[in-house]
Symmetry: C2
């Protein structure tokens, strides 16, 4: 048995526990809110048994060790072993049978069928282009007007999931150490320390990017706009995934560019074959925008072999490849999936990153590397918004360079995984027959396929009236093929209210399916 | 005699003095760096006599009261009266004659001839369009490479001219009062308090702008980009002043728009007649961009009658009028010149403001009102950079709403005026025969016309080698008509080094004029 569990009982207030040893990571006390290893023992125990169920060591119907068994076998307290069993039951792993204890059951979510693969390899003819603004503006306006009680429409996490105090301290420190920070003109290309910090992290992720070739931006969306303007102009066509982030479709429309939607698997991402077919069919494709890891809204991660293929294909076709990387560090587990940029040998990949979801939603920090278009990207950035203010950059650099940042990421990933599973369990329980869901292995969103007769726009509107916000599938494409999909945010701690909100969504779904 | 001078002697450390009474403005102590009324007595005395010279009460050649006269008449100390006379001598108002005291003289700058009016009313045919990027990029690259010891090329003031401590305190307060500020997603349209604060100040400036119709931007440059994209598209022509801010010419080129330069008087601003002529001559002019107050680089302020005329003309022509207002609050005196927006009755004026020069260069805060294009501006802002982070907005709102802000502005205006006059005096003394300068009544820059044979691009390059940065006239136009102009920043305290730098510029000018 895993020795990590043969340890004395612990509570949240005790020293951090990882792999059975007491963590001595420096500054662990200084950053109480960023301690991934502060995972309470009952959850470590629960994960231990959940792993056994997933591995088939325990099968459906097996009796789970009793409260006393757990206390004895793992030398934990009564409360810990009770918490363990309840936690597993809430997660859908166990069912309690009166007077006979807990038994292993299949989580409901594992019974739900996966989202379907696209039916054809043919791209959506850009002639189908139907201005996205109207759809999106209506969506945003409604959301603002109704101000939902529980808003699952965005892709940001609850504030408390981030390193609130650590960041605040870093911000205060920045002001103390640089008294004239707010009244001094900014350096032409952002803060050197911040550019070094992100370049160093990129290096660890297999990307060789010189700090001088980092362009700091206002979130990933500015980076995308700059990337698009660097390689294409009005009237040009840009290949995108289908479905894709509505913000990208909006940006394209604003820049007078046309989106060509390439069939994209909800499990393996954009199809290189379909992309090649499209490029050979339509002459004027000037670039392709891809989210290889935890695609928005699909949540899929491209297999490495597909990433290799895509990067090589774009090089052969001399097709600029714009990588949108906002979620990679939110992938489950402690080894992040690889980026397309890490495969770039010719500067053909423009890498756009965001710290908005991983570091802090309130800082709007993004950055990019323009590949062989670096000079033009720099000029466009300067011309449109000048350099970002240094305050946030110095604050972020401070945090990024500290061990607290990785502890924060570990904790964030664990919390998101749990929230995702709890929500998926509720969706499986409440949503109408025929609902499909592929629970992503990371990230902040889930892409839910409802029975085809359900109009998710109507569901969105009815849910808003009941105080629940979601994103209807229609805004993720210029075509109408996602009219029965929903994107649901899992960035909020799972609560009874959240469960109730999902129940409401399910009920509306049932009524629309009838 | 002005009783404000019949007061006991004072020093910088004594309570604030204004109009003869001890200032009791609340929080004056809390904001030591923002006290306009902390002007030392010797400078109040000097201004008193300078006013008399300008009014003709004292004329050139008159003997100035002696040190002892001043001590007796104004009941000031020996050091104060000595300082007063030296300060006036440094400012070019007095000359010291050995063994006979100080005598009134005409400041050198008053002898220098004004910058010439444009020769014709004809706009510069956009066919002359010669892509500004190359010029500007070369200029920026050189400046960065050489990192001048004394940089007079920008338009920002030295950090110490701003309310360093007050802003820092406000920033700390923002973090303490909003612990989750950095980790919470931003409201869709910026911070409500900030929008209210700027709307309130706009109201005092005669502009009725609803806080909900304020769009917060990353400096004025983003506001300008959004304004241009709201009313025009690639291929369209935009009328601009000639000369105009190179950042605007860059933005236009990036957006695929063409700049049509309208003749602009260095004293009364853009010519409405020339604009009307241009609109009737060229069909495709989609908007006009104007800096009515302290135009960059000219420094001129449009007379009210010209402002009325321009706003009416644009309404008649259905020509969107984009107002760039970055400097108005830096105009000399305590009554700011009026804006074009304050004359807008039909929503035809898009107002773009910057707090970059007046509040703090390190915060990159701008805002705008889209007039009747508000909805489109909102959408474009959302699509390009989303909402600005709240941290700086809350910090700024705190300061804007306090009396410390107006004290800061008064002080800033006084310091700039003095710096401008000292620098103009040096320019008059050191620059070659035939140099022309109209000292602007406010702002951060001076537009210097050198003898026509002097190539300011070469002057710029040679000065850089000697460690002095300036802006060559060529980058302020797509035409070549400003090749013998310089824009010189007067945002830095006048020091011996600064005087020396101007002497160097003068010497290079002489060598190039020969």
């Amino acid at each position: 048995m895993d020795t990590s569990l043969l340890i004395p009982d612990s509570t949240d207030t005790r020293p951090a526990l990882t792999d059975g040893t007491v963590s001595a990571s420096p500054g662990a006390d200084a950053v109480p809110d960023a301690g991934a290893s502060r995972m309470p023992l009952y959850r470590k125990l629960a994960e231990h048994y959940q792993g056994a169920i997933q591995a088939g060591t325990l099968v459906v119907g097996d009796r789970m060790p009793s409260v006393r068994d757990l206390m004895r076998q793992h030398q934990v307290s009564l409360s810990t072993s009770l918490q363990t069993l309840r936690h597993m039951e809430e997660g859908g792993w166990l069912e309690a049978r009166p007077r006979s204890g807990y038994f292993v059951r299949q989580p409901r979510r594992s019974a739900i069928r996966p989202v379907q693969e696209p039916k054809s390899l043919m791209a959506i003819d850009p002639a189908q282009y139907v201005g996205i603004h109207e759809k999106v503006s209506k969506y945003i306006a409604l959301r603002q007007k109704c101000a939902p009680r529980i808003d699952l429409s965005g892709m940001t996490c609850a504030p408390e999931l981030y390193a609130v105090d650590t960041l605040k301290q870093a911000a205060m420190r920045a002001l103390r150490e640089h008294p004239e920070l707010l009244t001094s003109a900014m350096p032409h290309n952002g803060n050197q320390g911040f550019r070094q910090a992100v370049a160093r992290r990129a290096l660890n992720a297999g990307m060789r990017i010189d700090a001088d070739e980092v362009v700091v931006t206002h979130g990933c969306i500015e980076a995308l706009n700059l990337a698009l303007r660097a390689v294409a102009g009005p009237g040009d066509t840009i290949a995108v995934e289908s479905p894709t982030y509505f913000g990208l479709l909006q940006a394209l429309e604003n820049l007078g560019m046309r989106a060509l939607e390439i069939p994209t698997s909800p499990h393996t991402g954009i199809s290189a074959e379909a992309l090649e077919l499209a490029v050979r069919t339509y002459g004027n494709i000037k670039a392709v925008v891809v989210v290889p890891n935890l695609q928005n809204p699909l949540g899929c991660i491209m297999p490495d072999v597909n990433k290799d293929k895509l990067v090589r294909l774009c090089e052969e076709l001399h097709l600029p490849l714009i990588e949108d990387d906002a979620y990679t560090e939110l992938a489950d587990g402690n080894v992040a999936p690889s980026t397309l940029k890490s495969r770039d040998r010719s500067g053909n990949v423009i890498y756009c990153a965001s710290l908005n979801k991983v570091l802090a939603p309130g800082m709007r920090l993004g950055w990019m590397n323009g590949g062989r278009w670096h000079e033009r990207v720099m000029m466009l950035k300067f011309t449109h918004t000048r350099a970002n203010e240094e305050w946030t950059q110095i604050t972020a650099a401070d945090f990024l360079a500290s061990p607290a940042y990785d502890r924060h990421l570990r904790r964030l990933r664990e919390l998101l995984k749990e929230q995702r599973e709890r929500m998926a369990e509720s969706i499986a329980a409440y949503f109408p027959e025929g609902t499909r869901l592929t629970v992503p292995s990371g990230g902040v969103g889930m892409w839910v396929e409802l029975p085809s007769q359900v109009c998710s726009q109507r569901l969105f509107e009815q849910a808003l009236v009941e105080g629940v916000g979601v994103s209807p599938g229609a805004i993720f494409s210029n075509s109408n093929r996602y009219g029965h999909f929903l994107r649901i945010c899992c960035g909020h701690p799972f609560t009874r209210e959240l469960d109730q909100a999902l129940r409401q969504l399910g009920q509306i779904g049932h009524s629309l399916a009838a």
